[in-house]
């Protein structure tokens, strides 16, 4: 379904309130696209095994001048920025209390978890001596002032504890509906979980704030080898800022795409709110970036005829046009403009996060880096793993927001198609729980 047909869609599809996260029912998990993703993932695993035996040289284009390849600079630096939704959308929803954004939270948490998990796995493969990672459990062996230690430790803790715990509620919900006999246990577990939630959620905002900025601080130590348009003491803040608007783009953009693909109604109130916040973040970030460049007196280098100026203007224009499209979509309520705005601004942000390590990195002596085929295949394979995981989870758990009606539609769909299904205590007890047995838990 294209945006054009969405414009002609009945009002039920165009204007709706997202009130409930509903699984994408009625679509098989395993289809041709999914099989391609799985095949790519398996291929990446095979190549990874080869990399572990042969070393990094034979499988990648990395060399003495460019010690870091796309596994670190793209899969970790860029994709975890896209996966900061749990951080940026979460702060807007929980700290600044933009209540409508709670509708997007489950999407944000899932995309973040997948982006971080895939990035961290690849980080382990990129490391030359990964068996020494066990030092991570001895805090007194950490180099506390190293940005890389901060990133490695903070990222792993974040993905394994706060982010994973925040993703438990959809799983519990699935269990709750799966079999009514599980309910007392699930509810007991939930009550326990909720006691820790403020602490978990607060950690889920502190930790990414720390490591997303430290990702920028990584390149501070590289000094003059990073082109002056990028090398600035404000690099940590700019990296963090780019992560915020990119992750809004990733969460809202992915949700819009899912709505398009699986014919779900869009809640323009939520999407407008997200677009408004994203636009402000974008313009704030652009202003900070430009002011920094002007005050450091390196604006002149942006007008040299070289690849650095080209990359600089490309990323600035992409982000600017993206932000402008988001602003204008708020007036016209054109989902197409909004979606494109998210795509362009995130693309600009991605190039920005990629530049200091690769495009704007000037090793001395001058040398070239271009990822090898194996490197690209492994990188793609780990991205495919994330996408496959996303498709699987979205179709089996309540992640994607939908109007209330969607839930009832799902119920009747399953009552008709799967009369034997057991995860439907819901059907047993009717739409409004009118037949719910009045038994109180005896625990």
């Amino acid at each position: 379904m294209s945006t054009a047909s969405m414009r002609n869609a009945p009002d039920r599809l165009r204007y709706a309130r997202w009130e409930r996260a509903v699984p994408v029912y009625g679509f098989p998990v395993v289809n041709r696209f999914f099989l391609v993703l799985v095949a790519m993932t398996l291929l990446a695993f095979l190549l990874t095994a080869y990399r572990e035996l042969a070393g990094l040289g034979p499988v990648s284009g990395m060399n003495d001048a460019y010690g870091w390849g796309i596994w670190k600079t793209f899969n970790v630096m860029v994709l975890t920025a896209l996966g900061s939704g749990a951080f940026a959308v979460g702060i807007a929803a929980w700290v600044f209390r933009r209540k409508r954004l709670h509708a997007l939270m489950r999407m944000a948490l899932l995309t973040s978890f997948l982006a971080y998990a895939c990035g961290l796995l690849l980080l382990g493969i990129d490391a030359g001596r990964p068996w020494n990672f066990y030092w991570i459990v001895f805090p007194w062996k950490w180099n506390m002032h190293s940005p890389l230690a901060e990133v490695a430790i903070c990222m792993s803790i974040y993905a394994m504890i706060p982010l994973a715990v925040e993703n438990i509620p959809p799983v519990l919900e699935r269990l709750w509906y799966f079999d009514s006999r599980l309910r007392p246990g699930v509810e007991r577990f939930e009550r326990g979980l909720h006691k820790f939630f403020p602490w978990i959620i607060a950690a889920a905002y502190l930790l990414p704030g720390m490591h997303q900025s430290s990702l920028g601080a990584l390149m501070l130590l590289a000094g003059a080898r990073v082109h002056p348009l990028w090398q600035t003491p404000w690099l940590p803040l700019l990296y963090l800022g780019a992560a915020t608007f990119m992750s809004f783009g990733c969460v809202a953009g992915t949700t819009m795409l899912c709505c398009l693909v699986w014919k779900r109604a869009m809640d323009m109130e939520v999407l407008d709110e997200a677009a408004r916040i994203t636009a402000w973040l974008i313009f704030g970030w652009l202003a900070l970036r430009l002011l920094d460049i002007v005050f450091r007196g390196v604006l002149g280098t942006a007008f040299h005829l070289d690849r650095f100026a080209g990359v600089f203007w490309l990323e600035m224009l992409l982000v600017l046009i993206g932000g402008w499209m988001l602003r204008s979509s708020l007036r016209t309520h054109e989902t197409r403009t909004m979606f494109l705005g998210y795509i362009l601004s995130s693309l600009g942000g991605m190039i920005y996060r990629f530049s200091p390590t690769t495009l704007a990195f000037r090793p001395n002596p001058e040398s070239l880096y271009f990822p090898s085929a194996i490197e690209v295949l492994v990188s793609l394979g780990f991205i495919c793993m994330g996408i496959a995981g996303f498709l699987l989870v979205v179709k089996r758990f309540g992640i994607l927001p939908a109007p209330l009606q969607e839930w009832h539609d799902m119920a009747s769909y399953f009552r008709f198609r799967r009369p034997y299904i057991r995860w439907t205590g819901y059907f047993k007890h009717g739409y409004y729980g009118e037949n719910e047995p009045e038994v109180t838990d005896s625990d």
């Binding site: 489950r106 030359g128 180099n143 002032h145 190293s146 959620i201 607060a202 130590l221 001395n364 009118e434």
Partner: protein, 308 residues
Amino acid sequence: MAITRRELFTTIAKAGVPAAVALTVGSKALQAEEIPIPGAAVGLLYDASICIGCKACVAACAEANDTPPDTRGDSLHQAPSDLNDLTRNIIKLYKPEDGSAFSFVKRQCMHCLDPACAAGCPFQALHKDPETGIVSWTADKCIGCRYCTITCPYHIPRFQWQGYNPRVTKCELCSHRLEKGLKPGCTSVCPTGAVIFGPRTVLLSEAHERIKNNPGRYYQSRVYGEIDNGGTQSLYLSRVAFEKLGLPELGPESVPARTLRWQRRLYQYFALPALLYAGLVQVIRKSLAGHEQEAHERERETGLRAQL
């Protein structure tokens, strides 16, 4: 009246804000950092103007460190074109096109007083010895992240790209030979005395002596490494500009001190992050209560289980 939990937290916060700010702002990291010079700092003094480029030191270095000869160039001669995973020490030639003065240069680890590689190394695999100041690499702690190859302003540490058990190669000033009372391999064979080994203070006075005795011979009449990059333990004298020899002008402040100052301040004693965390918990506690209440109201309205 007993103190409520809320009061407890607000009191802690009220006391914590000034305390954390004071810790962050008033901490030592804020003031200009004094880089301590190790008591028994040893180093090399390389005088490019008397080096004849015989490369005896390159072969001696490989022998002293028990590295196989790097014959990957023409599978016959040990003639690497740059430092690499088998080469800790190399002689390079700077020869400008216009026929002006040429110079050899010996490249090996500078053993900075404040090394950027060690500042970035996550688990202290690269470590500066507090006594001798030698920067050495420990295999057991290295995760192979190659951050040292990014951070070193002299581009010295090299990663082994082949094999399942890669190592980082850099000059460690032949510390295994120093223990036996021997000099580093390169200094023990140099026929002209272009590279000499000794305590840093002795080498510095020797260098100044040479500058004084040969006015106008040396570039800027100064020793590279006396103050550059916060000071290094490998010192250089040269006739041609240091930049041409791959020794960038980094200023008197070390790279980590200059670039990580704010990073270090923000994380000093973990005070600011801890404070931020306490504040976030308070805010989220309140949001969560409101959110749960709304969700349960909605649950009663729709009859569907609340989704948090």
